[in-house]
């Protein structure tokens, strides 16, 4: 546990101790609010954060891989990964500690968007339940995309490759439910398989959450995907250790 905490604290210090992380936070805050206003957050005249939440997965699909690209790739490249595994910590604990540090940083980034709901509460009468549900969903989506990024980062030494592949995977997961994409495949794939693809979509499982409804299938999806990709990270690192 001590080693786990040490890794967690070290990672967290790394996030908050470098200028790059603050640039990351600025980029996230600016992109999320700019895009929300561009898509009509104020013009729609509706005191809700639905538009803001709708854009978040797309932003997270890029930001999470950016955050995780050096998580394991850098350790591989510099050789510090061997040092890490000499500590009294299992691979699973190391994976979990790094993931939790990344997630904590992301939750902090979400917290920094607080002026938006505060202003909306000041100007109108928003549905607080829907806002809370949207933020909860966003934190789970962040966890899922971080887990994907962590896995891809563990498979390669090159940060750029890690970023590109992780972003690609996240985008595929987000766009899996797009009707146009499905119908193009619909000509030669069975319907049940198309439905199978649709149920793997991140956006499909975020739709209700950002509107204010917590459904067991959505929470199950995001938790299982997160844990699944973290386990894959663990398998990859075990392989490299061996």
């Amino acid at each position: 546990m001590t080693a786990f905490k040490a890794v967690y604290k070290r990672e967290l210090k790394g996030y908050f101790g470098t200028l790059l992380s603050y640039v990351f936070l600025v980029a996230f805050l600016f992109a999320s609010s700019f895009w929300a206003f561009k898509n009509g957050l104020f013009d729609a005249g509706d005191a809700s954060l639905t538009i803001f939440f709708t854009n978040l997965p797309y932003i997270l699909a890029v930001m999470a891989p950016a955050l995780t690209m050096k998580m394991w790739a850098e350790e591989h490249r510099t050789g510090t990964i061997e040092l890490l595994f000499t500590l009294p910590i299992t691979v699973k604990q190391a994976v979990l500690a790094k993931f939790l540090a990344g997630w904590t940083f992301f939750l902090f980034a979400l917290l920094l968007t607080a002026p938006l709901p505060i202003w909306i509460i000041n100007l109108g009468d928003p549905d607080i339940g829907a806002m809370a549900s949207g933020y909860f969903g966003a934190s789970l989506i962040a966890a899922c995309t971080l887990a994907v990024g962590s896995f891809v980062s563990a498979t390669t030494k090159n940060q750029v490759i890690s970023f590109i592949i992780a972003t690609l995977i996240c985008m595929i997961l987000i766009f899996a439910n797009k009707v146009s994409a499905i119908s193009a495949l619909g000509a030669w794939l069975p319907t049940e398989f198309l439905n199978f693809i649709k149920t793997q979509s991140l956006m499909d499982h975020y739709e209700l959450m950002k509107s204010g409804v917590l459904h067991v299938k959505d929470i199950f999806y995001l938790v299982v995907m997160t844990l699944g990709f973290l386990y894959c990270t663990n398998l990859t690192l075990e392989m490299k250790k061996a």
Binding site: L19, G40, D46, T54, Q200, L208, Y221, V224
Partner: protein, 656 residues
């Protein structure tokens, strides 16, 4: 080789894990789709009501709900109204998915984006989903729902306006209910107003319009009633009401005893009845005499059925007694709402299913209903003033032409809830205990031949002194709330839709009194769209200020235009050559002034738009820039501190 084996085994394991998690997701999604989630929204918008679930459970055949929404078109538009439609679309989509979820496979949900020249567009046109041309006519906007069943039934919601977002679930459930209902109920309509227009069918009316002949449209409320009922005209001179399941009486002015007896016996026979009476019905002014106060005084426009309703326990207060309320017009606090008011939620009986979750009704010169203590029926209010309400009496209808401010002095503050609509429930006693009115019988005897009298006696149903079972009568003390001017408005897209809950109240009441409560529980779901109240208040303040200035400009422009007209008339009547320089100069000056006014008015509109834009600037600037800048500054400070600490540490270690 060993390493290769390990790699292969690891990658196979990873593949197995991914297949497992994707497979698990698929299975869990399928198995739990029919479960409802935890709805955290304030108004439980995403939870289908029990009424909807009950109607879906009664489905005896599979149906398909097809949603048409021009997503690709909306994404290209920059107008605010389309942003609102995007939000509404997401809600409608989610709601329809919910319907499919809880239907045990009886409802299939499909959605289409009717792009130009696509199959989806053709399908939308086949279903008669309303099409709105945009811009150059190459793009069109669709937002509607079509229902089809295996037996070939088709029902359509041609368009879902954003203003009706709170009733989306009701409309969809109603669509399903209409499609599965075998036949429409017969609704009798007894009225002394031309609510049916010229009484022609829509087809004949269109033919006459095409020929340039005048037509009188029916009131929108009647058109709306015909969507749900087979509306049967009951003549205002009728002596017998039969062949209808329910009765609506609108403005029962000067009804004969025979007709009152017919209504009385309809109620005794268990026919639920809704009656709109009025101390002053502004919709009952003869055409062409609206601006003629003397004609208005002479024309009787009040109605009541106190002769029968007082026996049942409720009557309209006599004379020109109106209800009023201090609290119902907050934007003009010094004005007691006398002529018209919008009832807020506190004015509706929240325990009664008809008016539960209701707000926003408008009435014009509403009357006062009084409860009689002699009845054993249960009488409860449905719509009242707030607790600061009261009543006032107008000497005559001429007085009602005055502005509301001048009528304030007539108001009698009673500081209590004054009844505007109420429901009587119980076993009704006839207001004609001795049978049909005698004058009727005497007239008949004079005009009928002996054979006819015998035949007619055979047709006359037996007189009922009391209803055999419990019945309901609802009385509303305002007829004008059903008129087009009060209850309806035109949308941005040019179609007519309810502007408040006036029509919904009548439909709710009819549903309730027919015994069908499923749809009522769905009808009013509260507010889906939550406006920026402060911004809207600021916009209103800007509008009022600009309007005042505009009015000033208009006044001046009117005066100068009149002067100009006078000068021009003068110069036309004289010989043009004799028109003096002074007149010409004056004309030129007036023209310049009028042009300057027009420019000033255009600048006012520009100013209004600029002020609108500035309203949200602080909000947008703070959230978009202030927070990121603060974080960047903090980061730079942090970086500077860490760098300087590192430098110090390096320097120390190098000194050592």
């Amino acid at each position: 080789m060993n390493n290769q084996n390990i790699k292969t085994r690891t990658w196979l394991s990873i593949l197995a894990v991914l297949i497992t998690i994707f497979g698990l997701n698929f299975i869990v999604s399928k198995k739990t789709t029919s479960l409802s989630g935890v709805d955290l929204t304030e108004d439980k918008f995403y939870t289908l009501t029990e009424g909807t679930k009950s109607i879906i459970a009664k489905l005896d055949e599979p149906i398909t709900l097809e949603l048409f929404f021009s997503n690709s078109v909306v994404n290209k538009q920059n107008r605010e109204v389309f942003e609102q439609y995007k939000t509404l679309y997401q809600y409608v989509q989610s709601t329809l998915m919910n319907y499919a979820r809880v239907s045990n496979g009886n409802i299939t949900f499909k959605e289409y984006d009717p792009k130009p020249f696509s199959d989806a567009e053709e399908l939308a046109n086949d279903y008669k989903i309303q099409r709105f041309e945009l811009g150059n006519g190459k793009q069109a906007f669709y937002f509607g729902i079509a229902l089809t069943s295996q037996t070939g039934k088709k029902e359509v919601i041609p368009f879902i306006p954003v203003e009706e977002s709170g009733t989306v679930e009701y409309k969809i459930t109603e669509l399903i209910d209409n499609a599965t209902r075998k036949e429409k109920k017969r609704l009798g309509l007894l009225t002394t107003l031309p609510v049916n227009g010229d009484g022609m069918s829509d087809y004949m009316r269109q033919m006459r319009q095409a020929q340039g002949q005048p037509v009188v449209q029916p009131w929108n409320i009647i058109t709306e009633l015909k969507e749900y009922y087979e509306v049967v005209d009951v003549p205002a001179t009728t002596e017998k009401i039969e062949g209808v399941d329910q009765l609506v009486v609108i403005h029962p002015k000067n009804l004969s005893d025979a007709t009152l007896y017919a209504i009385d016996q309809f109620v005794m026979n268990g026919g639920a009845t809704i009656i709109y009476v009025d101390p002053f019905c502004s919709s009952d002014i003869p055409v062409g005499q609206q601006q003629n106060p003397m004609a208005a005084m002479a024309h009787p426009s009040s109605s009541d059925i106190n002769k029968i309703s007082s026996v049942w326990g409720l009557s309209l207060k006599e004379g020109l007694t109106m209800s009023g309320d201090r609290a119902l017009m907050p934007e003009r606090p010094n004005l007691i709402a006398i002529q018209n008011y919008t009832s807020e939620s506190k004015c509706f009986n929240q325990k009664q299913i008809i008016t539960q979750n209701m707000s926003n009704m408008t009435s014009i010169y509403p009357g006062v209903l009084e409860k009689s203590e002699i009845t054993s029926n249960t009488i409860e209010p449905l719509i009242t003033t707030s607790k600061t309400g009261g009543s006032w009496i107008a000497e005559n209808t001429f007085v009602l032409r005055q502005p509301s401010e001048k009528l304030n002095d007539s108001f009698i503050p009673e500081d209590k809830e004054v009844w505007v609509a109420a429901m009587i429930r119980g076993k009704f006693k006839s207001a004609f205990p001795d049978g049909a009115p005698k004058e009727n019988e005497n007239e008949k005897a004079e005009t009928e031949k002996p054979n006819e009298t015998e035949e007619n006696d055979a047709d006359v149903p037996p007189h009922l002194k009391e209803s055999a079972s419990e019945n309901i009568v609802i009385i509303v003390a305002d007829v004008d709330m059903l008129s087009d001017d009060v209850a309806y408005q035109r949308t941005w897209f040019g179609e007519t839709r309810p502007s408040n809950k006036n029509s919904a109240f009548l439909l709710n009441a009819l549903q309730y009194t027919s015994g069908s409560t499923d749809l009522i529980s769905v009808r009013s779901r509260g507010k889906f769209r939550r406006p920026f109240k402060k911004i809207e208040a600021q916009k209103k303040a800007i509008d009022n200020r600009i309007k005042e200035q505009e009015n000033e400009f208009d006044e001046k422009q009117k005066r100068w235009t009149a002067e100009l007209q006078e000068l021009q008339n003068q110069s036309n009547s004289e010989n043009q050559r004799l028109v003096d320089n002074e007149t010409i100069l004056k004309v030129n000056e007036l023209n310049k002034k009028i042009e300057a006014q027009n420019r000033a008015k255009r600048k006012l509109n520009e100013q209004k738009e600029k002020e609108y834009e500035q309203l949200g600037n602080t909000f947008i600037f703070t959230t978009q820039f202030v927070m990121p800048i603060l974080i960047l500054v903090f980061g730079l400070i942090q970086y500077a501190i860490v760098s300087s600490k590192r430098k110090t540490a390096v320097q120390r270690s190098s000194k050592k």
